[in-house]
Symmetry: C2
DNA sequence: CCAAATATTTGAAACGATTCACTACCGAAG
DNA sequence: CTTCGGTAGTGAATCGTTTCAAATATTTGG
């Protein structure tokens, strides 16, 4: 099959130790030998076997990335950031979609442990679970992505979701909306809970009333369902704030199909500011999060934890969300 | 650190061979022993070290997936399919974005070889390169995704792009359009070339005239650039066919910003039928490809090649694209 | 109750790299 | 001519599994 270090050693008439040195500490090898061995390596097309290397070393140069859904452009952007940062340091990334299911998450955590990944970036479906500790016990660094656990000693990169919910409602009320619908996923998702708490807080200050519409899927299908439920309300709110852009797009699609004009009759505000938001039927106002940047930051944090070892200090980095105004919202 | 097979053996008072049997061939182990060893495994929280296992076995349970851009919803869908199919067979997937760059692709191929992946699914930037042979020489199965090499002995899953280009133009000419702009990426991308050839073929039959606008980036930024170039044309075509939906969305955004009405003044047709297409400012007509299904099929094909070994027969699977009519196209 | 047949279990070799104590060699110093 | 210091190179042990021939235990038939 493919050439091993031993084959190279034999062909170059040196010992395996020397070949290993050529690969890992070329400075201790005499120039002539170095050249000869390098030539042999090229000749045989030798590529070191990562398994064997990492078996001895005790760790690998791979990371796991566990997100709820890469089909969500927000996470796609995050993934891009992670990949670029990892790549820069010569790490490869395993991609895992948990679909917010604890079961799938468990399976993946197990796979990642088996693969002996060096570290894991995860948006856990359930922050309280012991999955994370399980990995850490095994010497796998864990950094939370878009989640945060207070008081716990670990790195995390998140966005201030409470503030996000708050500025959303502050914005809508500043436009004169007093009856607002809040379309969200299950409250067990921390982002949903946090944004909701920001929503409630800001609503109280502005004395606005909030109607919650909760659906199970945080994608455009969920949005369609939400819109149908919305239309059945006794008194229609004048603005809708959605927990993410996919929901908002589903809502938009359905409302437009029912001849409801946006923003004339109803203002619509999303969350995430995905790439597609400006191209929507009515360009979607949204709360932007620095997705790519978050991916890069999280990966850098994780890798520095992996490589610095003991003198690493855990950090909780929190980005601030930002309002992006487009055509889907307007004064009442 | 974490428990090894040897630790389990010691604690359960059996030999390492027996523990290994419990893991891999439980049917040869006596029920009482089986139970005891399993209990010990659970107690110590033992997870086998994938490296050591695969080092011995000579291959791993990992796949590589190399696509030009996961941020493109088409490839995201494909990736989802691949992941689900791989997961079902207990394989993990490395995600790699080549960005159509031969350099990045080379780097990733090297990483994947080092990781000793069992197989690779790739949309190669350059079909003629010897990267693919390099991997095969090392015993890594390779399946082409959304590309095809005629006469070569390998599996591939693709879409009939020539036909796709053809039905697009047939449709537009059937609506009465005779002056059509074709917005595409570099001709070095096989899909672009194939679709272009379908375009030309159908145009000849219908005696329509085609104006080609080539941009370097196949995303919405590229689309914006294309639209600007389009607007500078001496005589404006009445329809635009874009090589993918992202391009089309960029074009749409820009044309609408210039107060050009779609489809009244210009018909716009995309390719891929991504999830957002129906939510676009003007719901986008498009040529649909079964992305998720392609991912699943490709992964299944690859894994059957990996596992069936010699009695595997290479297959070239070709899906047929389909026209999806929405509001962005209309009769002249 | 014994031999043969069958069912379990054992333990050492192997996978391919890294590591490190050790040897070989060379020139310089005593 | 020996001794020392330093540089280059060696090769056996090691990592945690799987595999498999051999050893041992158990069952069966006579």
């Amino acid at each position: 099959m493919s050439a091993s270090l031993r084959d190279v050693a034999r062909q170059a008439k040196v010992s395996v130790g020397t070949v290993s040195n050529v690969l890992n500490r070329p400075e201790v090898v005499a120039p002539a030998t170095l050249a000869r061995v390098k030539a042999t390596i090229a000749e045989l097309g030798f590529v070191p076997n990562g398994f064997a290397r990492h078996l001895r070393a005790g760790f690998s140069r791979t990371l796991g990335l566990v997100v709820p859904d890469v089909a969500n452009p927000f996470f796609t952007e995050v993934a891009r950031g992670v990949e670029d940062a990892a790549n820069k340091r010569d790490y490869a990334v395993f991609l895992c979609n948990s679909d917010e299911s604890a079961l799938k998450e468990d399976r993946y955590v197990n796979v990642l442990i088996q693969q002996q990944v060096r570290g894991v970036l995860i948006t856990p479906s359930d922050v309280k679970s012991d999955r994370l500790d399980l990995m850490r016990e095994r010497g796998i660094s864990v950094t939370l992505l878009d989640r945060e656990i207070k008081g716990k000693n670990q790195c995390s990169v998140s966005v201030d979701d409470v503030h996000g919910g708050q500025i959303a409602i502050e914005y809508l009320t500043s436009l004169g909306h007093q009856e607002i619908a809040w379309v969200c996923g299950p409250n067990s998702i921390p982002q949903v809970a946090d944004r909701a708490s920001g929503v409630v807080k800001a609503a109280k200050v502005a004395q606005a009333s909030i109607t919650t519409i909760e659906v199970s899927l945080m994608n455009s299908t969920g949005g369609e369902e939400a819109a149908k439920r919305f239309l059945e309300l006794a008194k229609l709110p004048t603005a809708i704030f959605c927990a993410n852009d996919l929901l908002a797009l589903g809502v938009m699609r359905t409302l437009l199909a029912h001849k409801i004009r946006i923003p004339d009759q109803i203002s619509l505000l999303g969350y995430d500011d995905i790439n597609f938001a400006p191209s929507a039927a009515v360009p979607l106002s949204s709360i932007a999060q620095p997705a790519y940047q978050m991916g890069v930051t999280a990966a850098d944090l994780l890798l520095s934890e992996c490589e610095d070892g003991d003198d690493h200090r855990h950090q909780q980095i929190k980005f601030q969300p930002q309002l992006v105004e487009r055509a889907s919202t307007r004064k009442r």
